[in-house]
Amino acid sequence: MLDSIVFYFFASIAVISAMLMITRRNAIHSAVFLITTLLSTAGIFLQLRAEFLFIAQIILYVGGIMVLFIFVIMLVRLDVPLPQIRSPLRQRIAVFVAVIVFAEAAYIVWKAHAMQGQGILIPTAAPADKLPPNTEDLARSLFGMYLLPFEIASVLLLVAMIGAVVMAKKRTNTP
């Protein structure tokens, strides 16, 4: 009951603001709507009892990446709406195909639910109070089984950082 209310609340916010995000002409507005989308996604994570991901989403995505975006937008002076040369053909195709894909996938999901019995396994969630404490659980498998991927991810981040610095550096600064 409560669960589904929370879910629909956040889901609707997410979808609506995502739509707004890709339709605003002003980049800053898009960014704001993306932020709301991400926040509501975080809410959905919380509703899925993934507290750590909830906070990670907020700290990393919203607190880090989006601030970066807004920074860049201001830096590159995109806060004035760009001249939108419409290319109607591509847009129509895009929307059309997107709708088709959505319909197909929705159909498949529905079908799967429909043939619940015969051979398709629809997982059902364990009750929330049975779950192990999320952070500890996550940490245990992150630093146990997935230690190597973790390290690789850290290396990836390092590389990305250096690369970003190098590329964003003013040529004039580099002798």
Binding site: H29, I35, F54, I58, V62, G63, N134
Partner: protein
């Protein structure tokens, strides 16, 4: 439907109560912090400060609030209306929401069994910058934007430091849960400020910078940018920003207190003969109540007298709870007692923490932006990193030698000293290179600024 709602309230009334309390009380507290600040400033400058409204200007905040509410609130023409409206709300919301996981007392907490505890506080308060940067951008004014970007750069830089400092605390506590952290300090019989002094120190500095307080108050540096990101704001929205700033101070203070100063524990919680300290809160509140009663009669305006009476009543009520909890030992009373008692010590520590802010603000001159950035990136962040490692090593030694609770101090001592030495070296190195890099275009922050100023 209604049933559902009722059941909900039935199940969660404590949390709801706390939430309501926070939302109602925090603005009040913020207002009074302002008053205290003005008083402290006056004291340090050998003045009296606000004296007119209420005894010793005790009612000044109320008056200010009224003024702000009835003031005209104007929106510049070129401003981006939607975001201009949206930004302050965002800041305020972030500040208040992040209070949700702060534990004022044993049960005095909204999100009690949330598994990420302090991270919640830190993360949500990390949304504050949006309010600032968006507001600064929306009001379409160079001062605002420069202020906004400055503050954002500053916040991002110093949140890193704060995060590492917190990590050192988490390592010691072994949990993220707020109540768990406090319990850990109870069982270890020592506040973690003694185990990880460097961590506390770095967190203190970082938190000052995070709340844009002097000497790091570049975003609203009157001498450079009129009022930074708040330039175009007025009236209620302005007061929202204002509240958000002070709420943030409370939040960082609360985090620091919880992690390093033993949360709601009284000093020396494990020492029996210090028991007399328990009597302190009740007596203190009683005294305040008496004072209010005495002064209530002398108020010029009816409203003021009324307010004084209300305060007195509240104080007496709480004092009563304190007094009765011991003899009349029924469960709800003890429950309330525990919460209020914890809240008392907690708020005491937080206010001490905030007092340090004020002290520094009236003592130190303002930094230059590149100095700020260098302090953050060249000294604090490396120091915090080293500190995390040091604490880890210390813990390893501790567990290897099987030392528990306060004997951990012995294990921590060498690593702490090592960390301090590293800090010294960093500072020396930085001084050596500061002259070379002291050109105003020294950091990203300033480069952004220039790309606008130019």
């Amino acid at each position: 439907m209604l049933q559902g709602a009722l059941a909900f309230v039935q199940a969660w009334w404590v949390e709801l109560l706390c939430a309501v309390l926070i939302v109602l009380v925090v603005p009040l507290i913020a207002g009074y912090i302002v008053l205290v600040e003005r008083k402290v400033m006056a004291d340090m400058q050998a003045r009296l400060g606000p004296m007119r409204v209420g005894p010793h200007g005790l009612l000044q905040p109320i008056a200010d609030a009224l003024k702000l509410l009835i003031k005209e609130d104007l929106i510049p023409d070129d401003a981006d209306k939607f975001i201009f409206w949206f930004a302050p709300v965002l800041s305020m919301t972030a500040a208040l929401t992040s209070m949700g996981a702060v534990a004022f007392g044993p049960w005095f907490q909204v999100a009690r069994d949330i598994n990420i505890g302090l991270l919640f506080v830190v993360g949500i308060s990390a949304l504050g910058p949006f309010g600032i940067v968006l507001g600064g951008w929306a009001s379409n004014n160079h001062y605002s934007i420069i202020g906004a970007i400055r503050s954002t750069a500053q916040l991002i830089s110093y949140e890193t430091t704060a995060g590492f400092a917190l990590v050192s605390g988490f390592l010691l506590a072994g949990t993220l849960k707020v109540s768990g952290i406090v319990q850990a300090q109870l069982t270890d019989q020592v506040w973690y400020v003694f185990l990880a002094p460097v961590g506390f120190f770095t967190y203190l500095i970082a938190s000052i910078a995070e709340t844009n307080r002097a000497p790091f108050d570049l975003p609203e540096a009157e001498s450079e940018l009129v009022a930074g990101y708040m330039t175009e704001y007025s009236g209620f929205r302005w007061s929202l920003y204002f509240l958000a700033e002070y709420a943030n101070m409370i939040v960082v203070g609360a985090v620091g207190t919880t992690l390093f100063l033993g949360g709601w524990l009284r000093p020396f919680p494990n020492v029996q003969w210090m028991g007399w300290v328990d009597a302190l809160p009740g007596v203190l509140l009683g005294a305040v109540g008496v004072y209010c009663v005495v002064r209530a009669g002398k108020q010029p305006a009816q409203v003021q007298a009324l307010f004084m009476w209300a305060v007195a009543a509240a104080c007496f009520a709480v004092a009563l709870i304190f007094a009765l909890a011991a003899p009349v030992g029924n469960a709800p009373l003890k429950f309330m007692y525990a919460g209020l008692y914890g809240a008392f010590w907690f708020l005491l520590k937080v206010s001490a923490y905030i007092y340090i802010f004020m002290w520094l603000r009236f003592t130190l001159p303002r930094f230059r932006f590149d100095q700020l950035m260098r302090l953050g990136w060249h000294i604090l962040i490396p120091l915090a990193l080293v500190n995390v490692v040091g604490v880890g090593i210390g813990l390893a030694i501790q567990s290897a030698l099987g030392w528990n609770h306060w004997m951990g101090l012995l294990a921590m001592l060498p690593t702490t000293l090592g960390t301090i030495v590293v800090g010294m070296l960093l500072i020396r190195w930085n001084d050596k290179h500061a002259a070379a890099a002291s050109a105003p275009i020294a950091t990203d922050g300033t480069r952004v600024e220039d790309s606008y100023a130019g």
